[in-house]
């Protein structure tokens, strides 16, 4: 996957770089990204494993409806990353099956 840098109709401002971690790896996104779009741009397609059959799942509806892209974000499970803005330093993890609670 890649970012679209040139487009006949649209101009994409290549916003400020935002670094975050995905399953411990440091990844770079851009200002204006959702977590999902930043992952997608980095070529990461599997966001979670389904709850019963543990099948790979990812982005699907992009509008926060289908819950296919539920991930663990800063310890919070079931976060729909397609509608979650990317923040500097956010910790994103693949959700395997059901999520757990954060124990502070």
């Amino acid at each position: 996957m890649r970012r679209i840098t040139e487009h006949p109709i649209l101009t994409f401002e290549q916003g400020r770089k935002i670094t975050f971690t995905f399953d411990g790896k440091t990844i770079e996104g851009r200002e204006g990204d959702t977590i999902a779009s930043a992952l997608q741009a980095a070529g990461i397609r599997v966001y979670r494993e389904s709850i019963e059959m543990h099948r790979p799942r990812g982005f699907f509806c992009a509008i926060g409806r289908c819950a296919n892209c539920s991930m663990i974000v800063d310890g919070v499970p079931n976060t729909k990353v397609c509608v979650t803005r990317l923040r500097e330093g956010v910790v994103v993890e693949t959700q395997r099956g059901r999520g757990g609670v954060r124990r502070d």
């Binding site: 709850i51 310890g75 919070v76 499970p77 079931n78 099956g97 059901r98 999520g99 757990g100 609670v101 954060r102 124990r103």
Partner: protein, 382 residues
């Protein structure tokens, strides 16, 4: 639909299907169960599925104990997984007065044979590590208690009843009960008339209306009771927890969702089952107070069902009037019908098959107990 049958059961909830199955098991297979909508569409499908022995009235403890045995063998007997979580029930006491009452009821429950014990706040945290025990004096814990999925239980009863020959007629609403002298002669539905020897009222939230059709004035009233459920998460809690002081009960289902509710004193009798935003906010405050770790977990649905309350919060079982000899009621379960359903099925089937109950006596639960007013009411209703 049959035009003539031995027994008509009104209501396709867990009580009605349990009775149907038990009758068929006793060899009474000429049975028609009528349900105005679909199986478990009423209170059964709207309850949290708790199964406990910790009641203040000995008769409730006995019934519950007998039911639990059946629930635990359900899968083997019925061939259906009912999502049974054998995680016990933990009741929390905050005030000394409440603690004292717990000590007394636990003593009574133990006498009846239930494996219940008083636990310290520290033990409570061992049992439910996410529970905030601040302000709690003690708990009452019964590891034998459990909770299960009401849909699967009802489906299990229904499919086994069908297998044994019972007819289950869905989308069939009773419009009239015809009598002949001191007996019910037929049940009229939107799908036709069924002549019968017995009618069983297992109509849950609508028990009084069905009673009225048979000319019986049942002292049951329905009250809205709301519940909310979260998305599923990994197991963090085994027991179903009841806190009378905060006024809440909650459990984590086999599937992983948290299910929670509370009784609202301000509810007026009626059939309103719409949820309110006030409940949603209030239950969230109460639950996150007791289990702070759940604050990030989301509620996915809220709904309401009906508690069919009897004057003493205990069921009314058996014949209800000398004016209609063959009209049997299993009503007024007061919010604990699901857990009492297995034994209720057995007892009502015995009553019809043998003319008397054999497993347990039900005299204490006869409608006659209200003659002269309520003597002793169940206190552990939430």
């Amino acid at each position: 639909m049959k035009k003539k049958t031995d027994v008509v059961i009104i209501g396709g909830g867990v009580i009605g299907t349990s009775i149907a199955y038990s009758l068929a098991k006793n060899g009474v297979t000429d049975v028609v169960l009528v349900e105005r909508d679909t199986l478990s569409c009423g209170a059964t499908g709207r309850c949290a599925g708790g199964i406990r022995q910790q009641w203040s009235e000995p008769s409730n403890v006995r019934l519950a104990r007998a039911s639990i045995e059946i629930f635990k063998n359900f899968r083997e007997e019925m061939g259906r997984d009912i999502g049974l979580v054998e995680g016990g029930y933990l009741l929390c006491a905050h005030a000394e007065e409440e603690a004292e009452r717990f000590r007394e009821t636990v003593a009574m429950q133990r006498k009846v044979g239930a494996d219940v014990r008083i636990v310290t706040p520290e033990e409570m945290r061992d049992i439910a590590p996410c529970l905030n025990t601040d302000g709690m004096i003690l708990g009452a814990y019964c590891p034998d208690d459990c909770h299960a999925d009401p849909f699967q239980v009802t489906q299990g009863y229904a499919e086994n009843a069908r297998r044994l020959g019972v007819d289950i007629e869905l989308h069939t609403e009773v419009t009239e009960i015809r009598k002949k002298g001191k007996r019910v002669a037929a049940v009229v539905t939107n799908g036709g008339k069924i002549e019968c020897n017995w009618v069983v009222n297992a109509a849950g939230g609508h028990s009084a209306e069905v009673g009225a059709m048979a000319g019986v004035d049942l002292p049951t009233k329905s009250y809205r009771h709301q519940i909310a459920v979260t998305e599923p998460i990994r197991r963090i809690q085994e027991p179903l927890i009841v806190d009378f002081y905060v006024n809440i009960y909650f459990c984590q289902t086999a599937h992983g969702s948290f299910m929670m509710g509370y009784g609202d004193e301000a509810e007026k009798p009626g059939h309103n089952v719409r949820g309110t935003w006030q409940f949603l906010e209030e239950i969230s405050r109460r639950l996150t107070g007791l289990v702070p770790a759940l604050k990030d977990i989301s509620v996915v649905r809220q709904w309401a069902g009906l508690y069919n309350m009897s004057p003493d919060a205990q069921p009314i079982l058996g014949r209800v009037s000398d004016e209609v000899e063959n009209f049997i009621c299993a009503v007024g379960f007061s919010g604990h019908g699901f857990m009492l359903a297995p034994i209720t099925g057995v007892l009502m089937a015995e009553l019809i098959t043998y003319g008397e109950t054999r497993t347990l006596p039900i005299d204490e639960l006869s409608i006659k107990r209200f003659e002269g007013g309520v003597k002793s009411a169940e206190a552990n209703v939430v």
